[in-house]
């Protein structure tokens, strides 16, 4: 057969970014270790979902915030090669700074306009100590920030769910509450599988017809141990 017209073919990139709270309070009652374990346990499930859709190239990164913010894994890494190094916990909760750094990475370029909607997963146990609204404004000023699938997980009763809901930006999608390690594992697995699968499906959506999410997100699993359960430790 004659040579196929055109340049190099490529599957569509899907950027999946963990945004992890590493403030000092995360060191209490084993929260940070539970988070490290949950993400590590979720990786094989992420790889399975990614393998089921060979037309999406799942690229994973991680951003941590405490006193300031820093890329924990800065390079978009194919999920097959992604390894989780434990996060330490210390300092305050500079979430605004983290969102500003995220905004820089979601610009076009370095992002491509042919990408699939990025998935941003924010996990926090407290209240921002810096300019959260300023950081969120920077994020939402970027087209990919606005179009990203934004998920939030609240660890423990002290997490500021109002802030997390503002980050999500869609009233029909609520922050997921994790008051014990099992719930955290369950939520992390859900975003790593069900949400990832939805974001990697290429169906188009008509814009401006109805308000709501640009990526249909399946219902999260019913929490077996709800708030104020006897199993709660956070």
């Amino acid at each position: 057969m004659a040579k196929r017209p055109g340049g190099e073919l490529a599957t569509r990139p899907l950027h999946f970014i963990w945004i992890a709270d590493c403030s000092g309070s995360m060191s209490i009652d084993g929260k940070i270790q539970a988070l490290n374990n949950a993400i590590r346990e979720a990786l094989p499930h992420m790889r399975t979902v990614a393998d089921e859709n060979p037309n999406a190239e799942v690229l994973v990164r991680a951003l941590k915030f405490s006193s300031g913010a820093q890329w924990h894994v800065s390079q978009p890494t194919p999920v097959a090669d992604f390894k989780w190094t434990d996060l330490p916990a210390d300092g305050v909760t500079d979430l605004g700074r983290a969102l500003g750094m995220l905004a820089e990475q979601l610009r076009i370029p370095p992002m491509s306009d042919r990408a699939l909607p990025p998935v941003l997963v924010l996990i926090s146990d407290g209240c921002p100590t810096d300019d959260f609204n300023g950081g969120l404004r920077m994020l939402m000023a970027e087209p990919w920030g606005k179009k990203a699938v934004r998920i939030a997980i609240a660890i423990g009763e002290d997490a500021d769910t109002e802030v997390l809901q503002t980050f999500i930006g869609h009233p029909e999608l609520k922050p997921l509450q994790a008051n014990n390690p099992e719930a955290l594992v369950r939520h992390i697995k859900w975003v790593s599988t069900a949400v990832l699968k939805s974001a990697s499906a290429p169906a188009s959506q008509a814009s401006g017809v109805v308000a709501g999410l640009n990526v249909p997100i399946p219902a999260p699993p019913v929490t077996a141990a709800g708030p104020q359960s006897a199993d709660d430790v956070w």
Partner: protein, 286 residues
């Protein structure tokens, strides 16, 4: 598959088209939701190539029908261009009235379809409560589709586009242009659509009076094609390569391979349905 159009006043345009089911659609058991139509207008003196891409999301469960309706409506509405006399009238009608007429006829077609075949419980039961309410209050959402159309006539070329997808042209010198620029809003699989509110405001029209030489090749494609390439340069190369193959080796160098090439692009690239329409002038026309 190949439609030659000749007239003493019109260069001999030739056409090719192909449409393939996306690799992701095959895995999900979904049909090809694109549509393509090539017809002659104005007693054979003009040619219309129209493509439509049904959205394929859960809420747009009749988008395959919506896409087929879109290309039929394009034929009906673009036929009116040739009832007008002067190029200035045609241009004005195309820019001001044609978008309204396209959307109006498409919505009428949707309503007729709904009267004949109301939504079934099987169609609606796959939706969650919120999605079901949205479709019931906004039924045209179920038929959502984009539309790209190009009319080549002796005195003008008209491009129109609603939603994502791409036009590329190649000059006889090999220069690539986009007659309708990319819409920066259309990322993340969101697209303007025939079912959008006031969709006529989203129709982009480019009317070119033919004073000099027309393009050597015009390429129209649904977004699954451009999304299959790593970058814009790689996609623009598609048009240049088609033109060089057709110019140097003729139609037989392209036609038998077209579906295989599109399948390869979907499998190794976007995973989406891909539909392509090519119009070109054989080299003897230069």
């Amino acid at each position: 598959m190949v439609t030659p159009v000749t007239d003493s006043a019109l260069p001999a345009w030739r056409t090719l088209r192909a449409s393939v089911r996306g690799a992701a659609h095959e895995r999900a058991g979904l049909p090809n939701q694109d549509a393509v139509r090539i017809v002659r207008l104005d007693a054979g003196r003009a040619l219309l190539v129209s493509l439509a891409d049904g959205h394929g999301s859960a809420k747009s469960f009749r988008s395959r029908s919506g896409a087929r309706l879109a290309v039929v409506v394009a034929q009906k509405v673009c036929g009116h261009l040739f009832k007008l006399d002067r190029p200035s009238q045609i241009k004005r009608w195309a820019e001001e009235q044609l978008p309204l007429e396209l959307v109006r006829h498409w919505l009428e077609g949707v309503n007729r379809s709904l009267q004949r075949q109301p939504f079934t419980s099987a169609e609606l039961e796959t939706l969650d409560t919120a999605a079901r309410q949205q479709v019931e209050s906004y039924p045209s959402l179920a038929y959502g589709s984009t539309l790209l159309a190009v009319v080549v006539a002796p005195g003008f070329i008209l491009y129109l586009q609603l939603g994502d997808g791409d036009f590329l042209t190649v000059s006889a010198e090999g220069e690539i242009t986009r007659p309708i620029p990319q819409d920066a809003r259309l990322i993340a699989n969101e697209t303007t659509s025939l079912c959008s509110p006031k969709a006529w405001n989203e129709v982009r029209v480019r009317f070119q009076t033919l004073a000099g030489a027309p393009p050597a090749l015009i390429l129209a494609a649904t977004d699954g094609y451009a999304n299959a390439y790593r970058d814009e340069a790689g996609f623009q190369q598609v048009a240049r390569d088609y033109w060089e193959l057709l110019r140097d080796e003729g139609e037989e160098a392209v036609r038998p391979h077209l579906k295989d090439w599109l399948n390869e692009a979907s499998q190794q690239g976007s995973g989406d349905d891909i539909t392509l329409g090519l119009l070109w002038r054989p080299v003897a026309q230069f």
